[in-house]
C-alpha cells in the first residue's frame, strides 16, 4: 500500500507537525470512535424481527392448509402447501391474478416514467429558468399536496364514467401522471445540482431551451430521478382507494385483487395469505435490488424538505 502512494519515504502524516497536516483529522470518528454495545444491536434485532414477522407469518400460514390456523400447537416451520395455495389464487377465475399482476406492473411503470419526466421538466423550469410568477406557482404546487384525494373522488368518478373509462386501467394512470411531490422534489434537487454557468454556456452555444434541458438538465437529474421513480412506483403499486372505486372486478390491480380474495375465501386464510405473499414478491425483489436507493432517497428528501 505504502509503495503505491507518492509519499516521500519515511515521512508519514504523523511526522509532520499538527498545524502542517494537509487534512484535519476526521471529526466524527474522533467523537464517535467507540462502537456501540450489545444493547444497540439487540434493539435493532428486535426491530428487524418485527419488520420481518408479518412476511414470515404470511409464508407460515400461506404454506399450511386451512386447519393450520386453528391448530394450537402449530409448527413454526413453513408447511409444504404453498404452491397448492398459490395455484388456488392464480387459477381463481374471480380474482384474475395474472391480469392484476400485469395491470400493476404496467400502470406503476408507466406512472413512474411519466411522473419522472414531467416532474423533471417542471422542476427544471422552477429551479433554473427565470419566469414571471415562478415563486408563486411553486408555492401553489406545494399547497396542492395538502388536498386530500377524497375531496375529488366523486366528480372524478363521474368524469371517468362520462367518458367511459370506469373499469379501465387508464382511469388510475391518468390522474397520477405528474405529482406535486415530484415537481417539488426535482426542483429541490436541480437547484443545487446544476451550476447556472452550464445553462448559460448551452444558451450561448445556441441550444434551444428544450435542447438545454435534454443535454444539461436530464443527465444532472438522474440520481434524483431514479429515487423519484422508485417512490412513485412503490406508491402506485400499493395504491388502493381510487383503484378500488374506479376499477371493476374483471380488471383489477393487485391490491384490488387481494381485496376480492378476502371476500371469496374469507374462511381459508391459507389461500388468502398465500395470495398476499404472491402479490408482495415483486416489490420484495425490487426492494432487495433498490432498497439502498430507497433508503437514501427518504433520508435526502427529509433533509431538504
Amino acid at each position: 500500500m505504502t509503495a503505491v502512494e507518492p509519499v516521500p519515504v519515511g515521512v508519514t502524516d504523523r511526522d509532520i507537525a499538527p498545524e502542517e497536516r494537509s487534512r484535519p483529522p476526521k471529526r466524527r470518528r474522533a467523537v464517535k470512535g467507540t462502537r456501540p454495545g450489545w444493547f444497540v444491536y439487540s434493539s435493532l434485532a428486535v426491530v428487524l424481527i418485527a419488520s420481518l414477522f408479518p412476511y414470515y407469518w404470511s409464508l407460515l400460514i400461506g404454506s399450511g392448509d386451512s386447519s393450520t390456523i386453528r391448530d394450537p400447537n402449530m409448527s413454526w416451520i413453513p408447511g409444504g402447501n404453498f404452491f397448492e395455495n398459490a395455484a388456488a389464487v392464480v387459477n381463481d377465475p374471480a380474482v384474475n391474478f395474472w391480469l392484476a399482476l400485469w395491470n400493476s406492473i404496467f400502470s406503476s411503470a408507466l406512472i413512474a416514467l411519466s411522473v419522472v419526466f414531467f416532474s423533471t421538466l417542471a422542476g427544471w423550469a422552477f429551479a433554473k429558468l427565470k419566469f414571471k410568477g415562478s415563486s408563486f406557482l411553486l408555492i401553489f404546487v406545494i399547497a396542492t399536496m395538502a388536498v386530500p384525494m377524497q375531496l375529488g373522488v366523486v366528480p372524478l368518478y363521474i368524469l371517468f364514467s362520462e367518458i367511459g373509462w370506469t373499469g379501465q386501467i387508464g382511469a388510475i394512470i391518468v390522474p397520477a401522471l405528474v405529482t406535486a411531490f415530484g415537481v417539488f422534489w426535482m426542483t429541490q434537487y436541480l437547484q443545487q445540482a446544476v451550476p447556472d454557468e452550464l445553462i448559460e454556456a448551452a444558451r450561448v452555444d445556441g441550444a434551444s431551451s428544450f435542447r438545454t434541458f435534454l443535454t444539461v438538465g436530464l443527465p444532472a437529474a438522474r440520481p434524483a430521478a431514479a429515487m423519484l421513480a422508485l417512490f412513485t412506483f412503490v406508491t402506485a403499486w400499493n395504491n388502493f382507494f381510487w383503484p378500488f372505486i374506479v376499477l371493476d372486478r374483471q380488471n383489477p390491480t393487485l391490491p384490488v385483487a387481494l381485496s376480492l380474495l378476502q371476500s371469496n375465501y374469507f374462511v381459508d386464510y391459507s389461500i388468502v395469505l398465500a395470495g398476499v405473499l404472491l402479490s408482495t414478491i415483486p416489490l420484495l425483489i425490487l426492494f432487495i435490488f433498490a432498497g439502498r436507493q430507497l433508503v437514501s432517497g427518504i433520508m435526502q428528501g427529509a433533509v431538504k424538505g
Binding site: 467523537v31 464517535k32 462502537r35 456501540p36 444497540v40 426491530v47 428487524l48 419488520s51 420481518l52 408479518p54 412476511y55 407469518w57 404470511s58 390456523i69 386453528r70 414531467f118 421538466l121 417542471a122 427544471w124 423550469a125 422552477f126 406557482l137 396542492t144 395538502a146 388536498v147 386530500p148 375531496l151 375529488g152 373522488v153 366523486v154 366528480p155 368518478y157 363521474i158 362520462e162 390522474p175 405528474v178 406535486a180 444558451r203 445556441g206 400499493n238 388502493f240 382507494f241 372505486i245 393487485l254 391490491p255 381485496s259 378476502q262 374469507f266 395469505l273 398476499v276 408482495t280 416489490l283 420484495l284 426492494f287 430507497l294 433508503v295 427518504i298 433520508m299 427529509a302 433533509v303
Partner: protein, 356 residues
C-alpha cells in the same frame, strides 16, 4: 463558435415556430415561454383531476344527484344536515381520531428511539436501515390482511399468545377500542420505519460538536438525547406530524380490509370517515351525501392543519427560548431601552440648549 442557425439572417417570423434557433428573436421567445410550457403538464392535470373536481364536489354536495341522468337538483344544505345529524358520522369521527392518535403517537415515539439507535456508530448501517424500511414496501391491503389474521378473535396468534401467557383473550373485532388498537398496529407497522429514516436524516444534521460539548460537561447519553437530539428535531417532527395527520385522517385501506365485509364492523366499531364516504358513494350510490361528507372531511383536515400551524409557531418560538429572553425580560429590556433613548434625547437637548 456560432452554430450556423444563429449566423443566419433573421427570417420574417415564421407562422409555425416549431424549430428553435431561427433567430435571436425566436430564441428569446423560446426562453421566455418555454418555462410555462414545462410546468404546464402539472397545472393542466391538476386543473382536470384536482381543482375542477374539488369545485364540482362543492356543487354536488348541495344537490340530490341523479346517477342515471348524471345531473342533480339543488337542495341546499340538506346533505350536510343529513351527514351531521347521522350518528354514524360521529362514530366515524370518533373512530378516525382514535385510530389516528393510537397510531401516530406511539409511532413517533418508536421512530425517534429507533432513529437514535441507528444514529450510533453501528456496523452494517445500510443493512439495518433497509431492514427498518422493509414494511414500507408492503401494500396496506396486504398488511391489513396479515394483521387481521393475527388479530383474529378465535384463532389469532395474538390471542393465542395472550392465553399462553395466562392473560384473557381480547375481542379484537367486537370491542371498538381493541379494534382501533389492531388497526393502529397495522399503520404503525408500515410507517414507523419510514418516519424513522426521516428523523434519522434530521439527527445526522445535528452538529457533532454539541454532543462533544455535552460529553465534556458530563452529560450522559440519555441526557444528551433529551437535551440535544429531541429539541433539534423539532422542525422535522412538525413535518412528520403534519404529514401523518393528513394521512391518518384519511385512513381507508386498513379498516376496509379488517374483516371480510368491509363495512366497519357490526356496530361500526372501526368505521372511519373515508370508509363511510365509500359506503355512501359506492354502496348506497348517493353522490350528493358523499360529496358533502368529503367537504366536511376536508374542513376537518384544514382545521387540524391550522391548529398544527399555531402549535408549530409556538414550538419554533420556544426553540429559540433557551438563549432568548422571556416576555417579561423582553418588556423590561424594552422599557430600559426606551428610558435610555429618552435620556439621550433629553441629554442632547440639554447640551444643545447649553450650546446655544
Amino acid at each position: 463558435m456560432n452554430p450556423p442557425e444563429v449566423a443566419k439572417p433573421t427570417p420574417p417570423a415564421p407562422k409555425k415556430p416549431r424549430r428553435v434557433g431561427f433567430g435571436p428573436r425566436l430564441s428569446r421567445w423560446d426562453f421566455k415561454f418555454s418555462p410555462y410550457l414545462y410546468i404546464s403538464p402539472f397545472f393542466i392535470l391538476f386543473f382536470i383531476v384536482g381543482l375542477f373536481p374539488i369545485a364540482f364536489t362543492a356543487v354536488i354536495s348541495f344537490m340530490d344527484w341523479d346517477l342515471v341522468r348524471n345531473t342533480g337538483t339543488f337542495i341546499g344544505f340538506d346533505q350536510y344536515a343529513y351527514v351531521l345529524s347521522n350518528p354514524k358520522f360521529w362514530i366515524a369521527l370518533r373512530n378516525t381520531f382514535s385510530i389516528f392518535l393510537i397510531s401516530s403517537v406511539p409511532q413517533l415515539i418508536f421512530a425517534i428511539f429507533i432513529a437514535a439507535i441507528l444514529d450510533q456508530n453501528i456496523r452494517a448501517k445500510t443493512f439495518w436501515r433497509m431492514g427498518v424500511l422493509l414494511p414500507y414496501v408492503m401494500a396496506p391491503v396486504a398488511v391489513a390482511l396479515i394483521f387481521s389474521n393475527m388479530f383474529g378473535d378465535q384463532y389469532g396468534i395474538v390471542n393465542t399468545t395472550l392465553q399462553n401467557l395466562g392473560l384473557p383473550a381480547v375481542p379484537w373485532h367486537s370491542n371498538a377500542f381493541a379494534s382501533h388498537i389492531a388497526i393502529a398496529t397495522m399503520v404503525n407497522f408500515r410507517w414507523t420505519g419510514y418516519n424513522t429514516l426521516i428523523l434519522l436524516a434530521a439527527m445526522q444534521a445535528i452538529p457533532r460538536d454539541y454532543y462533544e460539548a455535552a460529553t465534556v460537561d458530563g452529560a450522559g447519553k440519555v441526557r444528551q438525547f433529551f437535551s440535544i437530539t429531541v429539541p433539534s428535531l423539532r422542525p422535522t417532527l412538525i413535518f412528520v406530524i403534519i404529514t401523518s395527520t393528513i394521512g391518518g385522517l384519511q385512513i381507508f385501506d386498513e379498516p376496509r380490509m379488517y374483516d371480510q365485509y368491509g363495512t366497519g364492523g357490526a356496530n361500526y366499531q372501526w368505521l372511519t370517515i373515508t370508509l363511510w364516504l365509500y359506503d355512501i358513494g359506492w354502496g348506497e350510490w348517493n353522490f350528493g351525501r358523499a360529496a358533502a361528507l368529503a367537504w366536511i372531511l376536508f374542513i376537518i383536515i384544514l382545521a387540524i392543519g391550522v391548529i398544527n400551524l399555531f402549535v408549530t409557531q409556538g414550538l419554533v418560538r420556544n426553540e429559540g427560548g433557551r438563549t432568548a429572553m422571556t416576555r417579561a425580560q423582553r418588556r423590561t429590556a424594552a422599557r430600559l431601552a426606551k428610558r435610555d433613548v429618552a435620556a439621550t434625547k433629553s441629554n442632547k437637548h440639554q447640551t444643545e440648549e447649553a450650546g446655544s
